[in-house]
């Protein structure tokens, strides 16, 4: 740590904060962030109380959510846990919007506020603005408007059709929320007014389309041997989208609800894919920015010690056999990887030169920005996880095969294992492997209108039976006719897993 410059008067280290002091800290943080070329949306920083934080928390960070019991459940849970001291509250919540909204909690000291500003308003913010996934999948400028639209639409529906009706539809949509995502097709950007206007048109148009599809009076195929046309012609992974467009009996407002849930799911999809990177990036920058301020003598030692204490907690990684262990801490892994990237650029070792010939010795800031912009967790890890980080974390890979009575250590953090560990860790963040692969396979359009889904297992992992039947009931509610789910086995045979109604 460099000695503080005696000529610079440091900012007050509180511990209490005031608005002018926040301004002063923010100004310094912004100056440093500019120096490191962090490109951000404008910031909007809101000071809230702990209770409001719990509110925000329980609506998955959405500043405006439609009303639903599941958020109430989440709120009660959060409140219980908080009151019993099982958990502290998140220090910050930040919303991917333009301007980028970050929440500061009233109870925090000025040190924590500065940390949060650097972390959320510059770290996360620049990530939201520049990462390719967010750029492609979300539209920060319209999300608040859209959420507002959704909230109003849902409450209008509740007035018109009753709370229970709306709740039923939303429940069913929530059950399929993870399958309401386009993984490959890019959504379009539209503004609030357009959304409203188009919603009207869509209602009319959709209904007419659906009618078109189902209008055909079933006729016997003229030639028996004719292969029946599949509908949809290709399997579709976005089940909610398929339902919105094709479910025969949904009313137009229900279609709109399906759409709302689907849109929100889509909005959060990139966040699920970039946890490690996003948190790592934000953590790296709060650390770097505040250290920079300390080196300049802008902040006191008391400040930096309190900061380091918190920071260390944030990036701690309990070992696999610790009672606190609950998987790999994305803050820890992300922070370690970005820090290590900088080290590889600045002081590469022979090992780094062998593993990362492109970036060893390259300018670090550019390399980091490039890494932040062009990857998601899965590819980021497979590209940049260095042997040093694996050694630091003592990573080891376990293969758990149900056929095998014991677990096998597939690889550890040594020369032979680096590649395997890296590849397996990367796969661990591959969402398409984490979520079951279920697609809309076929609809019997000329027959009983039954809908068939197909589950294709990977690595022989079965679908959990307990909740599957429940989800199928929800699907049935949306589709309105028979629904079934089948599994395509490795040998190509098909087994039926579930159907609703059961008979």
């Amino acid at each position: 740590m460099a000695k503080a410059n005696p000529k610079v008067t440091p900012l007050s280290d509180g511990p209490d904060w005031t608005f002018p002091l926040l301004e002063a800290y923010h100004q310094e943080i912004r100056r440093v962030a500019d120096y490191y070329q962090l490109d951000t949306y404008p910031n909007q920083i809101e000071v809230i109380t702990a209770e409001q934080m719990m509110d925000a928390y329980s609506s998955i960070g959405m500043p405006l959510g439609y009303h639903h019991w599941s958020y109430g459940k989440k709120f009660i849970q959060t409140e219980q846990n908080y009151k019993r001291g099982y958990m502290g509250l998140a220090y910050e919540i930040v919303i991917n919007s333009d301007p980028c909204i970050a929440y500061l909690m009233e109870e925090n000291t000025i040190t924590m506020q500065a940390l949060v500003m650097a972390h959320a308003s510059y770290g996360h913010n620049s990530f939201f603005k520049n990462n390719y996934l967010f750029k492609t999948w979300t539209d920060a400028s319209s999300i608040i408007d859209y959420l507002l639209f959704a909230k109003e639409y849902v409450s209008r529906c509740e007035e018109k059709y009753g709370i229970s009706e709306v709740e039923d539809t939303l429940d069913s949509c929530h059950a399929l929320m993870n399958f309401g995502v386009d993984r490959y097709k890019r959504p379009q950007k539209i503004s609030m007014e357009e959304e409203q206007k188009r919603q009207q048109e869509r209602e009319e148009y959709l209904q007419s389309q659906v009618n078109q599809l189902w209008r055909t009076i079933p006729t016997k195929p003229s030639v028996e041997s004719t292969q029946r046309q599949h509908f949809p012609s290709e399997p579709q992974e976005n089940i909610l989208y398929f339902i919105e467009k094709n479910a025969p009996l949904l009313k137009s407002w229900q279609r709109e609800l399906v759409r709302i849930v689907r849109k929100i799911s889509q909005y959060f999809y990139p966040q699920k894919q970039t946890q490690v990177m996003n948190e790592g990036w934000a953590t790296f920058w709060h650390y770097t920015i505040l250290q920079h301020l300390f080196d300049e003598g802008k902040v006191t030692e008391r400040f930096i010690l309190e900061f380091l204490h918190t920071h260390t907690n944030v990036v701690s990684q309990p070992a696999y056999n610790s009672q606190h262990y609950s998987g790999i801490n994305p803050y820890a892994l992300g922070f370690a990887m970005f820090t290590d990237l900088r080290r590889i650029c600045e002081t590469p070792t022979a090992e780094d030169k062998e593993w990362f010939p492109d970036i060893a010795g390259a300018p670090w800031l550019e390399t980091l920005h490039f890494a932040m912009q062009n990857f998601k967790d899965e590819s980021f890890i497979s590209q940049y996880l260095s042997p040093k980080v694996m050694r630091d974390f003592h990573l080891f890979a376990i293969v758990d095969d149900a056929k095998d009575p014991s677990l096998e250590v597939a690889a550890i953090h040594n020369q032979q294992g680096y590649q395997t560990v890296r590849q397996m860790l990367s796969a661990q963040y591959n969402l398409s492997q984490l979520e079951p692969n279920i697609q809309v396979y076929d609809v019997d359009i000329s027959g009983d209108r039954s809908l068939r889904l197909r589950y294709i297992p990977q690595q022989g992992i079965p679908l959990a039976p307990d909740s599957t039947n429940e989800v199928m009931k929800h699907l049935h509610r949306l589709w309105g006719f028979k629904v079934s789910l089948e599994q395509q086995n490795e040998d190509g045979s098909i087994t039926e897993l579930s159907r609703c109604p059961a008979a």
Binding site: N43, V47, K403, E408, I412, G417, I461, L463
Partner: protein, 422 residues
């Protein structure tokens, strides 16, 4: 470029609606939890809320997710002992290393039940939803009123102890001003004239004397206005206002003869708890009188009521007589809302049953607001029940219900107190 916004004063309860939605949705489960919780309470404990437990599976939000089995690869940190190719025993329960971490998240964590607290009001509301006190409307105005002295302004007559000093003095001041204002004005005019006259180099002596004389007279008359007059006095006024009494007494009558075992008593206890909570929602203070009986009746405390062992035969009328006696001594039916709940297994000395019915008919039922008899027995009804049945057509505020097991109590209670269709 940055906006700081202070949102602390904004509404806190953004999630209140969502919480209500949650309670609304799980009302059935919550109600069940609430009625289960009744038995754990003491009869008179109504001030606390209740912590509600709902099985997690009932409120889980289903999702498609992977189940156990198949081949999984997981990377874990903190290797301290393993080398490549090591084989490890599969850990139980999936904690620590090993499998299961991947799919636990979608499942909702673990299998702990979902526990949360509801406030006292929410608790009682849920417990007694759609219930109402019987016969309240009919009797409320003509009967069960007590009079309360309330202040009702001021009046001109009264007893000295009720004199309101401030009001009286204010009246006095006003009267004095009113009575002397004209004279004071005259006085001021005369004094002014006098001053002018005195300045005159050659004063008109005659006029001067006249004015001085008038001034003197005026001053005397002003001084003669009394400081206080009976006219000024104001007395605090009190009126009697009829108020529906908020006092209630609940008689718990129970057979403790040899045929009543502890389980039956527990069932009765739950019924009494429900009744007490229900009454205390409507009345500010509820007294509870416990009367137990075998061949003789005795007033006891809660502990003894529920847990002391007795043997012997059964004469129900002894308890009814004691209840009448206690009402006469301590609980004037004009001032107290009297409720009674009698629990028994139906056994009675056969010759006594007609007497019971008669005591009820002539002495007790006219006094009480509601009398509930619950018979806790799986067997056929006996003479007491049959005698009581004859009372039913005459008295609307008399009810009898059989209870077979614990699960019946709450439904029976609801049946007894259900809101009558208007």
């Amino acid at each position: 470029m940055v906006h700081f916004i202070d949102r602390r004063l904004n509404g806190k309860n953004k999630s209140a609606v969502n919480r209500q939605r949650f309670i609304r949705r799980y009302k059935q489960q919550i109600k069940k939890a609430v009625s289960d919780a009744v038995s754990k309470r003491s009869v008179t404990d109504v001030d606390s809320g209740e912590s509600i437990t709902i099985p997690n599976k009932d409120i889980s939000e289903p999702m498609f997710h992977h189940g156990k089995g198949g081949r999984r690869e997981m990377v874990h940190p903190g290797n301290d002992q393993f080398s490549q190719g090591d084989r490890i025993k599969r850990p139980d329960g999936g904690t620590g290393q090993g499998s299961g971490k991947g799919d636990a998240s979608a499942d909702g964590e673990g299998s702990d039940d979902f526990v949360f607290s509801i406030s006292k009001d929410e608790y009682l509301d849920l417990l007694f939803e759609d219930l109402e006190l019987p016969n309240l409307k009919k009797n409320q105005l003509d009967k069960l009123v007590q009079y309360k002295q309330v202040r009702a302004g001021y009046r001109a007559e009264g007893v000295p102890s009720n004199i309101d000093i401030v009001r009286s003095l204010r009246g006095s001041l006003a009267r004095r001003i009113a009575m002397s204002a004209g004279k004071r004005r005259e006085l001021a005019e005369l004094e002014q004239e006098l001053a002018l006259l005195q300045q005159d180099p050659v004063p008109d002596q005659h006029r001067l004397l006249l004015i001085q004389d008038q001034i003197k007279q005026l001053k005397q008359r002003i001084a003669a206005v009394p400081f206080i007059d009976t006219f000024d006095l104001r007395y605090r006024n009190y009126q009697k206002r009829p108020e529906p009494t908020s006092k209630a007494v609940m008689f718990c009558l129970m057979d403790v003869s040899g045929s009543m075992d502890q389980a039956t008593k527990e069932m009765a206890k739950r019924f009494y708890i429900l009744l007490y909570m229900f009454l205390s929602r409507s009345y500010k203070n509820v007294d509870v009188v416990y009367i137990r009986h075998h061949t003789q009746a005795k007033e006891v405390d809660e502990q003894e009521f529920f847990y002391s062992q007795e043997t012997g035969g059964t004469i129900v009328s002894s308890a009814l007589k004691l209840m009448k006696q206690i009402i006469d001594e301590r609980y004037d039916a004009e001032q107290w809302n009297i409720y009674a709940a009698q629990a028994s297994d139906g056994d009675n000395w056969t010759d006594d049953s007609p007497l019971c019915a008669q005591i009820l008919r002539s002495q007790l039922l006219p006094l009480v607001r509601y009398y509930a008899y619950i018979e806790i027995t799986p067997r056929a009804h006996q003479s007491l029940w049959q005698q009581y049945e004859t009372l039913l057509p005459e008295f609307e505020h008399f009810a009898i219900q059989p209870i077979r097991d614990v699960a019946d109590i709450y439904p029976v209670f609801r049946e007894l107190f259900k809101k009558q269709a208007a």
